[in-house]
């Protein structure tokens, strides 16, 4: 079936994990916001690397090291193209979004944020874009401030200029809320923050999987995402940073590969991006991520985005047909997830019963406890959509929710 020019049946055939039974039922995987499944092309790329090219990078004079280096730097170039960064050196490989944000907090942040300064984030953030800033503010004696969210799940941007004070040193904001699916108007935020001289970090973990992202068009200063959510391997991720900013940042971790020379007394740090990539990197991870990017680009990112919107609309409608279901997140622009609660039935109980129907969703606070508090709930049930999901998956979810009602009738 096709909702949007994307041949979903063909896409599904590319993902071996989807073709199994769980609890005696066909698997319906609606938890891609937590981690995406991997196409065969990604699995093959990882296997091929370890079977043919495995060696350490940037230091061997032998052929395998050359191949490994080429594969690693080739993956960096793919990421550059994927984000439309100007140069490959603006792409730093890290373990994931969380590490990318910690890197910026502990290098850029430590350098530029001092006592009495302010860091601005939003109430939409998940813990990865809260805790590193809380830690930084505690270390530096700075203040953490939040852009509020309204009842629909949109950021309240009326008061943004007042929140951006002469003491604001950075604004860190998610591109898409993992808990509500709200798409944040990042371009506008960047424009308004830059007007006050404030650099912007964007957490793109939930965005890159659903629609094209162009860091030059956004003009953001940093952009972070994780490989595993992008249908690549776990343990690899990306920090994009504008060259001038990265070049002016002190190193993150010390060790091999991040130096030009080390004497007993002094170390001269390597150029970017290597300065931020201490130690042996996850080369196979980068290769797998490169393969995931190739895969998505071959399908067409516009077609994936159209599929996301069509399926999201279908899912929101379908959930509305289940009595007692209340959907959270009615932001103007949404992507990727439907978050909901059911009258008197705790999300955890919903999750267990759906699991017995073969339907995998996420229940809980989605590592966004402050946001849950804004909505007066401790947790929600969240079905998240990906390119391999179909209307049939949504229908299975709805059937499962009727089962939930039966149990708790």
């Amino acid at each position: 079936m096709s909702t949007s020019g994307l041949d979903v049946a063909r896409v599904r055939a590319d993902f071996p994990i989807l073709h199994q039974e769980v609890r005696g039922r066909p698997l319906v995987y609606l938890d891609s916001a937590a981690s995406g499944q991997k196409p065969q092309a990604v699995l093959d790329a990882i296997t091929h690397f370890y079977a043919h090219d495995n060696a350490n990078v940037h230091r061997g004079v032998h052929l395998l090291s050359e191949r490994a280096t080429e594969a690693f730097e080739g993956a960096r170039e793919k990421v550059r193209r994927f984000l439309n960064a100007r140069e490959a050196k603006e792409i730093v490989f890290v373990r994931g979004t969380t590490e990318a944000i910690n890197l910026v907090a502990q290098t850029f942040g430590r350098k530029h944020v001092g006592p009495g300064d302010e860091v601005l984030i939003t109430e939409l953030e998940h813990h990865a874009n809260i805790v590193p800033w809380q830690m930084l503010c505690e270390q530096q004696g700075a203040r953490l401030k939040y852009v509020p969210v309204d009842a629909h799940g949109d950021l309240v941007l009326d008061g943004l200029e007042a929140l951006l004070t002469p003491r604001t040193r950075i604004l860190a904001v998610t591109h898409v809320s993992n808990a509500l699916g709200t798409v944040v108007p990042v371009k506008e935020l960047v424009r308004r923050a830059h007007a006050k001289g404030v650099p912007v970090l964007v957490d793109g973990a939930q965005a890159v999987t659903h629609f094209p992202v162009d860091v030059q068009a956004l003009d953001c200063d940093f952009y972070a995402f994780s490989g595993h959510k992008l249908f690549g391997p776990m343990g690899i991720g990306v920090l994009y940073g504008k060259k001038e900013l990265l070049e002016a940042m002190p190193p993150y971790q010390g060790g091999g590969d991040m130096i030009l020379s080390v004497t007993m007394e002094k170390t001269v740090y390597n150029r970017i991006p290597h300065r931020f990539e201490a130690g042996t990197p996850d080369v196979a991870g980068a290769v797998g991520l490169g393969a995931a990017i190739d895969y998505l680009e071959a399908l067409g990112r516009e077609a994936i985005a159209a599929h996301d919107q069509a399926l999201l609309a279908y899912a929101e409608g379908a959930l509305g047909s289940v009595p007692g279901v209340r959907r959270l997140g009615h932001g103007q622009e949404r992507s990727g997830v439907v978050s909901f609660v059911m009258q008197d039935i705790h999300p955890h109980d919903i999750g267990t019963i759906l699991d017995r129907e073969g339907v995998a969703i996420r229940t809980g606070h989605h590592c966004a406890q402050p946001l849950m508090k804004c909505f007066g709930v401790a947790a929600t049930a969240r079905a998240s959509l990906a390119l391999y999901n179909t209307r049939e998956d949504v229908d299975a979810l709805v059937r499962g929710l009727h089962k939930v009602r039966e149990v708790f009738a």
Binding site: H348, D349, I353, R356, A378, K403, V407
Partner: protein
């Protein structure tokens, strides 16, 4: 419904989840603790009035799923008028029941609490069932830090 689901959500569990007993503050409480399940954000507090080593009154408050509320509700009924030592022994038995299943424990000594046995088929839900009990133990021991199931 699958038989495991039926075992998990037995009538008694659903009833206690919906209408938890002793869901209230305890007057004259002299032992208290708070418990968190970081996995789902659930939070509950347990308050006790202990006299001469005997639990004279117990109540709990907070939010949670059907399993955690039912477990807490059943717990308050089971430990009331028991000594602190008896409550600790019950904790150990319940913990074994929800982790290893009914075949492994003396179900007679557990009485009504055996309805929690279905949890053993759901490893992801063990924390829900045991949160109240961990919190009870912390209250008895007067541990200053909140309890976490992590």
């Amino acid at each position: 419904m699958s038989s495991e689901l039926k075992d998990l959500y037995q009538e008694v569990v659903l009833d206690h989840g919906k209408r938890p007993r002793n869901f209230r503050a305890v007057e004259g409480a002299n032992h208290r603790a708070e418990g968190f399940n970081p996995l789902c954000g659930d939070q509950l507090s347990v308050a006790l009035k202990v006299e001469d080593g005997v639990i004279r009154d117990i109540g709990f408050q907070g939010q949670g799923c059907a399993i955690s509320r039912a477990s807490a509700s059943l717990m308050t009924g089971a430990v009331k008028d028991k000594t602190c030592e008896e409550a600790e022994m019950l904790f150990a038995r319940v913990h074994q029941l929800v982790t290893e299943g009914p075949a492994e424990v003396d179900t007679e000594a557990l009485g009504k609490l055996t309805v929690l046995s279905g949890v053993s088929e759901f490893p992801a839900r063990v924390k829900c069932a045991s949160l109240a009990w961990h919190t009870l133990r912390a209250a008895l021991h007067e541990e200053p830090e909140p309890v976490s199931t992590e």
